[in-house]
C-alpha cells in the first residue's frame, strides 16, 4: 500500500498529463468510432458497424470538393505565410533597425484580434471595394492570420541559435551569403518546418474567418458546419479521422528522418 502511494505521488504529474491527453482525444476517438456507423440521414445514434463509409469517403455530395479546396488553400497559404513570416523573423532576429517596436506591434495585433473581427473586417473591405469573396479571398485571409504565428515560431528558433556557429563559418572564410545558406538556414530548418506545420493546421482547421470570406466556395470545416444542421454524413468522420492519421504519420516520419540524420 505504501509502495503504491509512493509510486502514485512520484508519477502524479504523468498521471495528470495522461488525463489531459485523454480529454484532448475523447472527441477524436468518438469521431473515429462513428466513422464506422451504419448511419441513415444523420450520424447521431449508433446503428451498427459498417466499412461502407471508409470504402466510399466521397459518398456525401460535395465533401471531397470541399476537402480538395481546404488542402489547396492550406498548401498555398502555408507556403506564402511561411516565406513572408520567416523573412520578418530574420529581420527581427538578426538586424537592428528603426521602427522595430512598430513591427512587433503589427505582428502582435492580428493575434490579439478575435478571428471574428478579422473575418468581418476583411469582408467589409472586400464588399466596399466590390470584390467578390471566393477562393482568392480565403487564401488572402489565411496568409494574413498565419504570418504572425510563423514569425513567433521562427523568431524563437533564431533566438536559441548559438551566434558562434555563424562566426566560426565566417572565420573559415565563408562569405555572408554562404554562411547563411550553409549554416544559418539548415539550423533554422526545424523551426521553419514547425512554423509551416502550425500554419497549415491553422489554415486547414479555420472556420470563422473562412465563413466570412468564402462566398460560394466550400471548405471542409464549412462543409461540416453547414451539413451539421441537416445531419452530418459519416464520411465527414472518415475524412476527419484520416487527416488526423495522415498528419501524425507524416510528422512521425519526419522525426525518424531527423533522428537518423543526427546519428549519422
Amino acid at each position: 500500500m505504501k509502495q503504491a502511494t509512493r509510486w502514485f505521488s512520484k508519477n502524479l504529474i504523468r498521471i495528470y498529463a495522461a488525463l489531459g491527453f485523454t480529454y484532448l482525444f475523447i472527441p477524436v476517438l468518438y469521431t473515429f468510432a462513428f466513422s464506422f456507423n451504419d448511419y441513415r440521414k444523420s450520424n447521431l445514434a449508433w446503428r451498427g458497424f459498417t466499412l461502407n463509409n471508409w470504402k466510399n469517403p466521397c459518398g456525401a455530395p460535395d465533401i471531397c470538393n470541399a476537402l480538395g479546396n481546404s488542402l489547396k488553400i492550406g498548401v498555398i497559404a502555408t507556403t506564402i505565410a511561411t516565406i513572408l513570416g520567416t523573412l520578418i523573423a530574420l529581420a527581427l532576429g538578426r538586424y537592428a533597425f528603426k521602427g522595430r517596436s512598430f513591427v512587433n506591434l503589427l505582428i502582435f495585433l492580428p493575434m490579439a484580434t478575435p478571428e471574428l473581427v478579422l473575418g468581418a473586417s476583411l469582408l467589409t473591405m472586400f464588399l466596399n471595394f466590390g470584390f467578390n469573396p471566393g477562393f482568392l479571398t480565403i487564401v488572402i485571409a489565411h496568409v494574413m492570420f498565419c504570418i504572425s504565428f510563423v514569425v513567433v515560431t521562427v523568431k524563437a528558433r533564431i533566438a536559441s541559435l548559438d551566434p558562434r556557429l555563424e562566426q566560426a563559418a565566417m572565420d573559415l572564410y565563408a562569405d555572408e551569403r554562404e554562411t547563411f545558406r550553409r549554416v544559418t538556414l539548415p539550423l533554422l530548418a526545424p523551426g521553419i518546418a514547425g512554423a509551416a506545420l502550425l500554419a497549415f493546421s491553422l489554415s486547414f482547421d479555420d472556420f470563422i474567418i473562412t465563413n466570412f470570406n468564402s462566398g460560394n466556395v466550400n471548405t471542409f470545416p464549412k462543409f461540416v458546419y453547414i451539413s451539421a444542421e441537416r445531419g452530418l454524413p459519416a464520411q465527414a468522420n472518415v475524412i476527419g479521422s484520416s487527416m488526423f492519421f495522415i498528419a501524425l504519420v507524416i510528422v512521425l516520419l519526419g522525426q525518424v528522418v531527423q533522428r537518423k540524420r543526427k546519428v549519422s
Binding site: I13, Y16, A17, G20, F21, L24, I26, P27, V28, Y30, T31, F34, L44, L84, L87, I88, L90, A91, R94, Y95, A96, F97, V103, N104, L106, I107, L109, P110, M111, A112, T113, P114, E115, L116, V117, L118, L122, T124, M125, N128, M144, S160, L198, F204, F207, I208, N211, F212, P221, Y225, A228, A236, G240, M243, F244, A247, L248, V251, L252, Q255
Partner: protein, 295 residues
Amino acid sequence: MAFLHAAAKHGSSETKKRSWLPYLLLLPGLVWLFFFFLLPILTLVSTSTKTPGLGIGEFDQTYRFANYWDAIVNSRAQFLRSFEYAGIATVLALAIAYPLAYAIAFKSGRWKNVLLVLVVAPFFTSFILRTIAWKQILGTSGFVNRALIDLHIIGPQTHLTASAFAVVMGLTYNFLPFMTLPLYSSLERIDPRTIEASGDLYANAITTFRKVTLPLSAPGVVAGTLLTFIPAAGDFVNAEILGNPNTKMIGNVINARYLQIVDYPTAAALSFTLMFVILIMVTLYIRKAGTEELV
C-alpha cells in the same frame, strides 16, 4: 548586431546597402498585413458609424457614433457573458495545460516530440467536428451523460448539453493546444539544473515550483492565457453548437448581424468594441506581468 547599425552611420556604400536589408526582408510581409489587416480594420471603423441607405445592404456615412451606444446597450448581457465564459475557460485551460506542458518538457524523455505533435494533432480532425462530437458525447444518449444518470449524479432525462457548462467546457477544450504550446516552450528553456539547485538548497517541491519554475515560465503563462482568452472571447461556434439561447456570446450576435440580418454598422460597432476592450485588457495584463517584448 548593433555593429551593423553603427557601421551604417559611417556611410560606406557596402554598409549602406546592408542597412536596407532588414527593411527589404520586412517589406512583403508588412505590405500584406497593411492591406489585409490594418486597412480592413480601418474600413470596419468607418462602417461602424454608417446608417442604412436606400437599398438593402447599402449604407451611408453619417458619422453616427450613437451606433456604438445602441449596439453596446442592446448586447450588454452577451458582452459580459463572453468575458465571463472566456475567463473561466482560460483558468481551466491553464490548470489542465500546465501539468501537461510540464510533463512533456521534463518527464517525457525521447517521446517529447511525439507528445508535442499529439497536442496539435486534433486540429486535423477539424474543430467543428470535435465540437459536434462533444455535443453527442454530452447529449442524452452520450456515454458521459448515461454514466452520470446510472450513478444517480444527475436525474434521468437531464442532459449536459445546451448549457453554460457545455459551452465553457467546449471553449476550454478547443483552445487547450494554444495554452499548452507556449507553456511548453517557456518550460523547455528552463535548465533542469536550476530546479535541482533549488532542491539542493533544501527547498521542498512546492517552494521550488513557486519560487523557481513558475517565475521562469511566466512568459509562457502570459502568452498562453492571451492565446486562449482572446479567441475564446470572440468565439461563437461553441455557444452555437453546445449552448442554448441563454448562453449566446457576443460572437453569436456579431455573426448574426453580419451574415443573417445584414446590419453591417451594428456588427462593425460591436466588432470594434470587442477588439478595443480586448486590447485594453491585454495591455493592462502585459504591463502587470512585466513582459517587455510583445511577441
